[in-house]
């Protein structure tokens, strides 16, 4: 999932204060926590309350798109609702916001979220953590399904650095050392010999900026 967090509400209020008729578009896709119909409604209520304290009245329309990053889907859902809309507040990740901005170039599209990374929920810690760095050269098959590129602070490919201590990373003691996790997993699978395979430096071009279909 793409992990996002909500921007501070006063920042959003500053964005939207020049406008009155605003469409709040949720995204049911991969943004986590979910930013669907409930979140759009909650946000509209909060902004209305915030506006009231600032003597500013807004008219909100709330809706949600299954995936804002799919321009066809977004167009199908949003186009019929755009009449009279002066600004759009998108609850999607940065990709969704840009798709909407491209779809409605004459209208300002504001992000309601800060987008962080591709990650998943770590339930025990009650946190969302990065899991994939989009390197373009997936080596999960070799590392027991744990990604050192995203989860090792230094992105090391050939085992832990000297700073690993008690299974934790030297950069932040509450962060697991990815290579210790990989070691434990491979040990569990009886595949520790994989650690002996040498992996050459990554080809950074593969992460790239464009892929042709």
């Amino acid at each position: 999932m793409i992990i996002t967090t909500q921007k501070p509400l006063d920042e959003i209020l500053d964005f939207i204060s020049p406008y009155t008729n605003i469409l709040i578009a949720g995204c049911d896709g991969c943004t986590q926590p979910p930013r669907g119909l409930r979140e759009t409604k909650t946000l509209s209520q909060l902004l209305e309350l915030g506006g009231k304290l600032r003597n500013k009245g807004f008219t909100f329309k709330v809706t949600t798109v299954a995936k804002q990053c799919d321009p066809y889907l977004a167009a199908a859902i949003l186009r019929p609702q755009m009449e009279g809309v002066e600004a759009v507040l998108s609850l999607a990740c940065g990709i969704g916001v840009q798709e909407l901005a491209q779809l409605f170039p004459e209208i300002t599209v504001f992000p309601a979220q800060n987008t962080h990374f591709m990650g998943a929920e770590e339930r025990e810690k009650g946190a969302l953590e990065e899991r994939c760095a989009g390197c373009g050269d997936c080596l999960l098959a070799l590392t027991g399904g744990i990604c050192p590129v995203a989860r090792c602070s230094k992105g090391l490919l050939n085992g832990a650095c000297g700073g690993s201590k008690d299974g934790k990373c030297e950069l932040s003691p509450d962060r697991d050392c990815a290579w210790v996790l990989i070691y434990e997993r491979l040990k569990q699978q009886g595949k520790l010999e994989r650690l002996k395979e040498f992996r050459p430096p990554r080809d950074y071009q593969l992460s790239g900026w464009r892929v042709t279909q």
Binding site: L9, D28, G36, L37, R38, E39, T42, Q45, G50, L53
Partner: protein, 391 residues
């Protein structure tokens, strides 16, 4: 909860001199709070375990147990008053946990007018109240109870069933006709709008009873025999695709609108978990002009959406009264409620609405605790209100 003030008012009390050592109470108590004292041979009450279901009170043949909630005297007073007020000869005794709103009760029972009596668990209504009601000229008594295995007080619903099964033949012999007391089952259940479901699986994760199932491909479905109607999934569904049947969002919204228009500022709305606070019966004491309450089947049903709605309608402060996690009748749902209320509080701070929300854990065992929380909150909101002046 650890330190117990000995002077604190307690909801259930024993008159140990009256105890005839029949042990009916300890057999009935669903929480093992009443046990035979091997030294005296009488029953002793361990108040910390008590959930104030009232089964012991209504079934003690020696009147050795007293409760401050819904005792015979207050139920009698209520019936006298309500009979005049509602101008009906049909009485509907409802379990608050399972009862739908009154419009649904009318439809469910096919009655136009009725005298409502909402109590936390129908099992706590003593047999003499049924008889008393008939003496007053009430012709029909309907009892709206949860299914036996959904009773939040475990045995309350089946105790009520037994009372009714025992009374009906007696009343028939006396010439009151057949089945004067009718038992109707009703348990709150979730319903899903498959058009809105986005198959995110949140309900599957949150449901404490494994009632939600998500198969791929497809939308979520519920095994209603497992659903206990707590409403946690409803409050957590990001797509607003879930509702509690007969306790829909719209119904709560209408209630919020009505109550906030009734109140005088500074307005305080209380969302009460019905297991955390046992309110006085309607008419027993006047409510303060600036405080109104909504009873919900569990604090986890307090949708952030409804809190915001109340604030939008001019309510100045919202108090949520929940059970502690240990007392929660819905498997620790109250902790989840506390978390979402805290999150909402942070967001309200961001827009400049500080201190408007308060989540407290209370228990009917110690009735003064809720009163204290409410009083403190009232002072806080009144202070904010007088500082900011009228909006």
């Amino acid at each position: 909860m650890s330190e117990v003030d000995t002077k604190e008012v307690v909801a259930v009390k024993q008159h140990i001199d009256y105890c005839s050592s029949c042990y009916i109470c300890s057999t009935l108590c669903p929480y093992e709070a009443l046990k035979k004292n091997p030294e005296t041979g009488k029953v002793s009450l361990e108040i910390e375990k008590c959930q104030v279901c009232g089964l012991c009170y209504s079934n003690c043949p020696a009147k050795a147990i007293d409760t401050i909630y819904y005792d015979v005297a207050s139920l009698n007073r209520y019936l006298e008053r309500a009979k005049q007020e509602y101008e009906s000869d049909t009485l509907v005794i409802m379990c608050k946990g399972s009862a739908p709103d009154f419009a649904w009760v009318e439809r469910l029972l096919g009655v136009k007018k009725f005298i409502p009596l909402s109590v936390p668990c129908v099992g706590r209504v003593p047999a003499e109240i049924y008889l008393r009601a008939l003496l007053m000229g009430i012709k029909n008594i309907n009892v709206l109870a949860c299914d036996d295995d959904y009773c939040r007080f475990k045995r309350g619903s089946s105790v009520a069933t037994n009372v009714i099964l025992g009374l009906n033949p007696l009343l028939e012999q006396l010439g009151y006709g057949r089945d004067v007391i009718t038992l109707v089952r009703h348990s709150l259940k979730v319903k899903v709008d498959t058009n809105l479901c986005i198959s995110c699986g949140n309900c599957v994760f949150y449901c404490p009873y494994n009632a939600a199932k998500l198969e791929s491909p497809g939308v979520v479905s519920f095994d209603l025999s497992l659903c206990r109607g707590c409403g946690l999934c409803v409050a957590m569904c990001p797509a607003l695709a879930l509702e509690l049947e007969n306790w829909e969002r719209e119904h709560i919204s209408t209630l919020i609108a009505r109550l906030s228009s009734e109140m005088k500022p500074p307005k305080i709305l209380v969302f009460r978990c019905q297991w955390a606070v046992f309110p006085a019966l309607n008419g027993d004491g006047e409510p303060a002009s600036n405080i109104r309450a909504i009873d919900l089947p569990c604090a986890s049903r307090v949708d952030t959406f409804h809190i915001l709605e109340a604030l939008q309608q001019g309510v100045d402060g919202v108090l949520i009264a929940a059970c502690s996690e240990e007392d929660c009748k819905q498997q620790k749902a109250s902790g989840k409620a506390q978390h979402s209320v805290a999150k909402l509080g942070e967001r309200l701070n961001q827009i400049g609405l500080q201190g408007r929300l308060h989540f407290c854990t209370v228990t009917p065992r110690y009735p003064e605790r809720f009163e204290r929380e409410l009083e403190e909150f009232r002072k806080r909101i009144e202070a904010i209100y007088s500082k900011e002046g009228k909006k």
